[in-house]
């Protein structure tokens, strides 16, 4: 069954397990490919992970002159092919969320590939496997729909990815209720 990465951003406690796990995925050469941010660093301790959202019409791939960024049949937007990337960094400028990382020495871009070696076989990506707070989950569309019902507060304050993102994405994001003054029921 097809599963997706699903984010419930407000659960994040800033442990950075996802980043550590990311480095351990095969093909990641022991470097992590995503981010964890302090939301309001001088005020409170809330953090949020920032992942590649695997856009349906990915700006990174569209801007690549070398066609180095391939889109997998599962919808995952892959990291640059090592022999194709010519190091122009167009993709880093194009991505609306600033996700692709670039290594100047190696002249190579690298980005989240949803741990394609795992996720193509339905195994959750490393980050979702280790996240202790269920911020990152690996769910079927039905499960995501159930989540949506559970959290739909009927006040427009929730909930799903669109229209809050720049375009349609394969990753689903749940906007955080806590920060909008809504207590979340587990």
């Amino acid at each position: 069954m097809k599963k997706r990465l699903y984010l419930e951003l407000e659960n994040c406690i800033g442990c950075r397990s996802c980043l550590a796990a990311c480095t351990q995925c095969g093909g990641h050469e022991e470097r992590n490919r995503n981010y964890v941010y302090d939301v309001n660093p001088l005020v409170n301790r809330q953090t949020m992970p920032l992942m590649c959202l695997h856009c349906v019409n990915p700006a990174c791939a569209r801007s690549c002159p070398a066609q180095a960024i391939q889109i997998h049949e599962t919808g995952a937007v892959l990291s640059a092919l090592v022999e194709k990337c010519i190091g122009c960094q167009n993709c880093t400028i194009a991505c609306p969320y600033g996700i692709p990382k670039f290594d100047t020495e190696q002249n190579l871009m690298y980005k989240c590939d949803l741990c394609i070696d795992r996720s193509k076989d339905g195994i959750p990506p490393m980050c979702a496997s280790v996240c202790p707070t269920n911020t990152l989950q690996w769910l079927t569309d039905e499960e995501i729909e159930a989540k949506q019902k559970q959290f739909n507060l009927d006040n427009g304050k929730w909930v799903t990815s669109m229209p809050y993102l720049e375009g349609e994405t394969n990753v689903r994001v749940n906007l955080p209720g806590i920060l909008q003054g809504v207590t979340k029921l587990f």
Binding site: L19, C22, C25, G26, P41, M48, L50, T92, N107
Partner: protein, 360 residues
């Protein structure tokens, strides 16, 4: 829809109008060029080695595939920009150095790992060496004539370049260039195969058709090539004509496959020099300042090129706050995203982005 036919130019006057398409023009010019070189090289077709004509046909088919693939590639908006501006910037002072690092010594692969660099040096330069010997022979641009006194004359493009002693060191290298190339490629391919079978980093993302097929093709060519020498020296030419055909066939298949798979990076890689020149040149011109923090993060040229390319693909990131996302530096863009999630203006908080390294 915008009309693609230009009205300001009278039709029928430029060279381009003689051809049905880009493809037809490139194909015609290249084949004509090859024929002329061959005409000169063979002293008006008097020294053609017809044993090699299979390669000739293979090369022509390869050129067809090559143009088909690369013209399609060159028409993608971002590629077009880099080709156009890259050609314009070709004569920068730093071009020779960049070219050497990118296309000759592969310094950036060294940074990825010495093992990966070694395997690529062996394969890449083995193949280049083999091509430098084979193609001039195929099109008879180069051939050898024997004089009685134990000297060979190397003839290049119809000119006698030098006389070499038949037993001498230069002659030895000339006879054995292809064997040396074959051994280099076999060693390199074995290194790659070993890595692809053993190394978990490499294993995670490979597929048979994309990653292994070209390796087996190269291996097959090199082994059959070496076998030819072996048959010559040890088996007195036994089965050599058959093996020669098999070898020839494998080279032709690889040539025809080349523009379509992993090996397509070979003709495309010179673009990395274009890209480097483009970035260097335009960063010296004028840098873009981040709309939020004011850091200079990319050249104005590249920023607007990217915005334009995305526009062609119907992607636009103009925000209500009055800027395009491509105008924010990367940390600010990420923080802006967080602020859109949270409703807190994270990107306005004057704190450096948290350490994003998992090692702490």
């Amino acid at each position: 829809m915008e009309s693609t036919i230009s009205t300001t130019k009278k039709p029928g006057l430029t060279v381009n109008d003689a051809f049905a398409s880009h493809f037809a023009k490139s194909m015609f010019l290249t084949v004509a060029g090859l024929a002329i070189l061959t005409f000169i090289g063979t002293r008006m077709f008097t020294h053609i080695d017809l044993n090699l004509y299979g390669y000739m046909v293979g090369t022509i088919v390869f050129i067809g595939g090559f143009f088909y693939r690369f013209i399609a590639w060159g028409e993608r908006p971002p590629t077009k920009i880099f080709i156009k501006k890259g050609l314009k910037l070709l004569f920068r002072k730093s071009t020779p150095k960049t070219t050497t690092e990118q296309l000759v010594t592969y310094r950036f692969i060294w940074e990825r790992g010495v093992y990966r660099w070694m395997q690529h040096i062996l394969i890449g330069w083995g193949c280049v060496l083999a091509c430098l010997v084979t193609f001039p022979l195929v099109f008879s641009w180069m051939y050898f004539t024997m004089k009685e006194n134990g000297y060979y004359t190397i003839v290049l493009f119809g000119m006698n370049v030098m006389n070499v002693k038949a037993e001498g060191i230069i002659a030895w290298f000339s006879y054995n260039a292809l064997n040396i190339a074959a051994i280099m490629v076999i060693a390199g391919v074995c290194m790659v195969l070993y890595r692809r079978l053993k190394n978990m980093q490499a294993r995670a993302e490979q597929t048979f058709m994309y990653d292994f097929l070209p390796l087996y093709l190269l291996l097959f060519i090199s082994i059959t090539g070496l076998l030819l020498t072996f048959q010559n020296m040890v088996l007195h030419g036994w089965m050599q004509p058959q093996m020669s055909l098999i070898h020839q066939f494998s080279v032709i298949v690889t040539l025809i496959y080349l523009p379509f798979g992993k090996l397509a990076h070979i003709p495309f890689r010179p673009m990395s020099v274009f890209a480097r020149n483009y970035r260097e040149h335009y960063s010296e011109q004028h840098m873009k300042e981040c709309k939020v923090c004011g850091d200079q993060f990319v050249s104005v040229e590249q920023s607007s090129d990217v915005i334009q390319v995305l526009g062609v693909n119907d992607i636009e990131f103009n925000m209500n706050d009055g800027f395009n996302l491509a105008e924010l530096c990367l940390p600010c863009r990420r923080k802006y995203r967080i602020s859109r999630f949270s409703g807190v203006a994270t990107h306005q908080v004057k704190v450096k982005e948290a350490n994003q390294n998992a090692n702490g």
